[in-house]
Symmetry: C2
């Protein structure tokens, strides 16, 4: 979308808080130097964050003879944020303080066949209730709940337009969640949640252009461009999993042929293994998690079938990542989500070699390829960050109340 | 790259001038409404453009009882800009006034085998000399010369890092051009030139996210994201021509297999035709221009071989454009460059149908697919626009002179 002055103010507010979270305590002068914003702009934004109690004054530092400089730090206990990662087989929920430390966790497993929106929503409601109870947080202090749901999401209306694994079409998920959860809700998908987690807290922090490659049951690319999340005109950018890598190739669950996901998603990897060695003991039919775990273990011990199955996968994955390097020319490609976490550095090393073979020399030379450094679930963290961004955006909306009608506190940002 | 405050100021300066060129005469109030910038910011930027003589005051308009509003318009004769399109087989040069009207043109054909940098540079110098002489412009009024050269370009150093058609590696093109051309020079490549032309004057104007697909001898995608050109970290974003569409497929001139360009570049189209009908009279071996012209004529007259050859091409092109739609979720995809111009609307209609088959429904529904509406050579226009942007950027540098050393006037912007 085209950036307006308001977008720029909001982006600057994010940038200042991001910097304070990264380096508390810090001074307005340091923030101006780190963000490239003017001292006057930083002072205004710091004032807003102080008013919100998201940060606090924590004393002064000497400034070599000049006036002592006021220091600010994130006010970790100034509020709580909840991140919800709805995946195909589980719901993870984490509750964070404002420094984005995890205070409480809850998991719900979804049984095969539990695919009705109401079933999924009741798991989410149970897990959210659990983390609030564990943390002993008064409800009033929860600033918001970010919810990541796979597939294509209209965040303005809170509708899950298409979730391939459950064959959902136009499910009004936000409305269903609102019946159980009283906090402000922010809906988006795992591509964007993991990208925003890397942007605020991971390998994309301080980078202008980064691509976060999600390798899970579904695959896709979260895009950080020009220092912010690129959503596209209808919030569906990053559908790398459904770009064509083998024209007329394998059937993908999206109904098309030859998509990247059909070769490098968890099911695609299982199929690569089956084609290589139909009777392999590494293969756990119907259990993606167990199969990927077995392949990871096989990689560690040098099992030749595991090594070959991953190499076969990386033939596709390397070409697909090279496409992203050629198109976006990013500073960093981050491999994220559970398949990447399970296969770890041995996978990354293979991917680097394959990308070197496929990408053009100039963009390849400019790009690092790394595993996500985020130690917890990046999708939960990113979802909670959407809630944080929403709270920061609603500040701007409250300030702007005199000229434009304020929105309902529970509406997601457009 | 990460946006700094200076980048934002420069982008705002572009935006205001773009809007004045689009809708002269106009008032500061209208500019503020059209750009989303504050009236104070617009007033400052208009002041800078007036100082530069790029625009002029042209009277007042009534404002329904309030103070009459000052009107400004582009000062077409306030300077001249030159755009240079170096292609594989020709050099086109156009000289523009500040309203980007073409005042003079010169063409030089390059014979097969003329591939030495010195040969190319002497064609450029001759054509630039010709347009200046034709227009009767005093040298001092030429604000700059933008030069587009195919392949990968380091615009900061003015080096052509790789030009596949001539097998150039690390040619210091800007240094060579400086020996013949005394005006400020700005080097970049046709992908970015045609994208910036669409952004300022074509189908991407006023759009946040647009992809400009260049179909010529080489192919690639110029990226307009968040209302500005996306260059990537080393100015090589947009290499869509070298993304993989058929893993292990046709050999591409880049040395890899299965690239989009190998199927939809002019040579790729000729090969598609040859595979379909080796003895077709449409085929002019060694002459891309004549073959594409014959196919275009065949499309118009319904020649079944021409129709089938284009349909075979669109099988790849549609999948490749769908990949861009899925990844970027743009408002518009613009088909540009000489192959697209020659094949025209019949090609666009086929591409639309094929993209509908390949892309995901949500991003497809949000995307228009159109032919470039720019009636002249978009690459010349875009190259001249780089010179205009350079002149606008050097304003900012002059204003900033007190704190940072001014750069040489002939250095390209970093």
């Amino acid at each position: 979308m085209k950036r307006t002055s308001r977008d720029i103010r909001t982006a600057n507010r994010y940038e200042v808080l991001r910097q304070i979270i990264a380096a508390s305590p810090t001074s307005r002068q340091e923030l101006a130097a780190a963000t490239g914003l003017s001292l006057a702009t930083v002072a205004t934004l710091v004032g807003e964050l102080l008013d919100l109690r998201m940060i606090t004054e924590v004393g002064f530092e000497d400034s070599a003879g000049g006036r002592p400089r006021g220091l600010v730090a994130v006010n970790a206990s100034g509020g709580a944020l909840i991140g919800v990662d709805i995946a195909e087989t589980y719901v993870h929920v984490e509750l964070f303080d404002l420094a984005l430390n995890v205070l409480a966790r809850a998991d719900e497993d979804m049984r095969p066949g539990e695919s009705l929106p109401e079933q999924v929503v009741s798991h989410v409601a149970a897990a959210v209730g659990s983390v609030v109870a564990q943390a002993g947080i008064e409800g009033a202090r929860v600033l918001g709940v970010g919810v990541s749901v796979p597939g294509q999401v209209d965040r303005a209306t809170g509708v899950s337009e298409y979730a391939p694994n459950w064959n959902w079409h136009d499910v009004p998920l936000l409305d269903l969640l609102t019946e159980h959860i009283a906090y402000p809700l922010y809906l988006d998908n795992p591509l964007r949640a993991s990208a925003v987690a890397e942007l605020w807290f991971g390998a994309a922090r301080g980078r202008g252009d980064a691509v976060v490659v999600n390798l899970g049951t579904g695959v896709g690319a979260g895009l950080v461009l020009g220092g912010g999340l690129h959503r596209g005109v209808s919030n569906s950018a990053g559908e790398w999993g459904h770009t064509t890598i083998v024209l007329d190739g394998r059937l993908c669950r999206c109904g098309k042929h030859g998509c990247v996901e059909a070769y490098v998603g968890a099911s695609g990897i299982m199929l690569n293994l089956r084609e290589l060695s139909p009777d392999s003991t590494l293969l756990h039919p119907e259990d993606q998690t167990a199969t990927i775990a077995a392949l990871a273990e096989g990689l560690r011990t040098g099992d030749p079938v595991a090594v070959k199955a991953i190499r076969d996968t990386v033939k596709y994955l390397g070409a697909g990542v090279a496409d992203l390097v050629n198109l976006f020319n990013p500073e960093v490609v981050v491999l994220s989500s559970w398949v990447a976490a399970a296969l770890g550095e041995p996978l990354v090393a293979e991917v680097r070699e394959a990308v070197a073979r496929h990408a053009l020399p100039r963009p390849f030379a400019a790009t690092e390829i790394v595993l996500s450094p985020i130690p917890t679930d990046p999708v939960c963290l990113g979802a909670a960050t959407f809630a944080l961004e929403g709270a920061l955006q609603s500040v701007g909306q409250r300030n702007a109340k005199r000229t434009t009608p304020a929105r309902s506190r529970t509406a997601p940002p457009s």
